[in-house]
């Protein structure tokens, strides 16, 4: 099932993917073996290059990012029933052992949405992918969160908010129309549902004065409800249109209520009283028997991210199959 990962330019998408790769390497090679990760060769080359660079303490370079046009990866979750089968059967393709989610990452730009709104034609890959998706992951760059209204970062965040809100509304409208079309064809379909997730990227760069003004502490809570409150307190200030349109999905007949929130950070070297010259260096964990020399990042959050989509992945294939079946029925009737 396709899923869209949206982020502004320089919002930390490549770093996010590199860290996700790092997390999946660790998590996906655990003894439990109920999660797998796959990426097309182009994306894998990039992600592993990013990962290797991070192990050397470097953030991905601009050249590296430009080398690739499409970034994607697949999550595979072992289906519960299959997990109980003997190992040999589990390994057979006909058993369809894994529920999968196929992510593609895109730069969000105003032009994509403008063209779609004006022409109604989804010619750009971002729009095509988005319209097919049931999962949308939105990266929100915390380094652009400022309460100083005269800065370019403030205006960039305003623009990003408008663009993402428009994308989501276009997405809701499309899903609703598809649903209505199926219903009009006499097909009984489930009301459309979209699963949004927000990743607060570069969380370590979030300024203290911003947190203080919002009445938030630096640590991200563990409790699910508290995480939601914390993240929404930030999103309400910096991407209010997006948040209001996610909530408004219900009014549009497309539920987007099951939003989840994650954060991403990588610890960087700090020199007291000094501003770093050039790109800051990533702090790495020390060597130990269980591994080391890894970038010091929010690993637990990435595991949460991976796990969050497990239930969705198990659920979605059925819905998709149903939808495909309905579409086939509708076509047959039309013929």
């Amino acid at each position: 099932m396709p899923c869209a990962l949206l982020g502004d330019r320089a919002s930390g998408k490549t770093t996010f993917l590199g860290l996700l790769y790092s997390a999946q390497v660790k998590y996906g090679t655990g003894v439990q073996d109920d999660f797998r990760f796959h990426a097309p060769i182009g994306s894998l080359n990039l992600m592993s290059a990013v990962y290797e660079g991070m192990k050397d303490g470097r953030f991905p370079s601009a050249t590296l990012k430009e080398e690739i046009t499409e970034l994607g990866f697949i999550f595979g979750y072992l289906r519960k029933v299959v997990g109980k089968l003997p190992y040999y059967i589990r390994q057979q393709n006909w058993a369809r052992p894994f529920s999968t989610l196929r992510f593609s990452a895109y730069d969000v730009s105003g032009e994509d949405i403008e063209e779609f709104i004006e022409t109604g034609i989804a010619s750009r890959p971002l729009i095509q992918q988005l319209l097919k998706s049931v999962v949308v992951v939105v990266l929100v760059d915390c380094s652009k969160m400022t309460t100083d209204i005269d800065t370019p970062a403030y205006k960039k965040m305003l623009r990003y908010d408008s663009t993402v809100a428009k994308l989501l509304v276009a997405f809701q409208t499309y899903k609703r129309q598809e649903y209505d079309r199926l219903k009009d064809s006499g097909v009984k379909a489930e009301a459309p549902r979209i699963y949004p997730a927000f990743v607060l990227s570069k969380f370590d760069t979030l300024k203290d004065d911003v947190l203080a003004r919002l009445g938030l502490h630096r640590g991200f809570p563990e409790n699910k409800r508290a995480r939601k409150d914390y993240a929404e307190a930030l999103l309400r200030v910096f991407v209010p249109q997006t948040l209001s349109q996610i909530r408004g999905g219900k009014i549009a007949g497309v539920s987007m209520d099951k939003a989840a929130y994650f954060l991403s950070w990588v610890r960087t070297e700090q020199h007291e009283g000094m501003e770093p010259v050039g790109q800051s260096k990533i702090v790495r964990t020390g060597f130990a028997p269980e591994g080391g020399g890894e970038p010091d990042f929010s690993y637990d959050e990435y595991v949460e991210f991976i796990e969050h989509f497990r239930d969705i992945a198990h659920k979605i294939p059925d819905e998709v199959l149903e939808a495909e079946k309905f579409q086939a029925q509708a076509l047959a009737r039309a013929a």
Partner: protein, 296 residues
Amino acid sequence: MSGKATFLSLLYATQVKSGSDASDDFRFHADVDSLDEISEAFEQLMSGSFPDSATKEGMRGITFHLGYRRAGRGVLSRFRSRRWASGGSIALHFILVRDVEKEMSRFRLGSSFTNANLREVLESDAIAILVDSTKLGHRPEDGTVGPMDRYDTAVESLLSAAQRSRPRGGRRSIHPIVVFSKFDSVDPKALRAANLAGAPPDAKKTGPRSAYAEALLESSLPRTIERVRARDRDASSFAKPSYFFSSVRTEAASADRRAKIRLRRTNGGGWEPDYSADEYRALLERLWTIASNAGE
């Protein structure tokens, strides 16, 4: 220049604020075309600027779908689109009449070029009349044309035309909504001349508020107010009008800079235009009530 774009942008800003609030008792959805038009204006407001001419030009019609999570709100209405939990939702379609004087002049002449939008306005359930408060109370002593006379004539004829377009004895009322825009810049002399206080009575005190508003309109929009008041006399199709006062605090323009909207801190730590938010919330509630009852 009556502030239509600013008015709609502030209405949108009120919805964004209420719709992203933690209390979650209000939600709204904007049509994608509408969002495309209004989000640009929202960005400008949030940066301390009034909508620029390109943004205003691009604004044609705006549709919002509103939902309140309140018991007893789920009424049968032809405006209701989708259910949200225990409540319902309604659709508000704002049609912008760019130049009401020109449009009505064409309409009176029976021009076939009459704006299609205007025909839609005549069929609508509510007509929001924006009154530029900076023009209130300026009546020339020599009896020549006042700054609002032409507007008054145009609005009055619009209301008459809307009334005529309704079938006699029909149940659908026209709800006049008068919005005093730029009320923070009203000439104090206009208020004194009408023997009024500096601020209007609270939105909940409908009687005193109507009296306050009508006292202002009597001198500047006499034909309009007369048309609306005639509802009691000749059983016209007008419902009781409602009145709202819009204001946005600004930083004065200088030689090299246009007037800027003053931004204020919100409870959540962000920014919002320093405007009459309570008035806009009350207006949204009113629109909700009108739309909910429209199809009963």
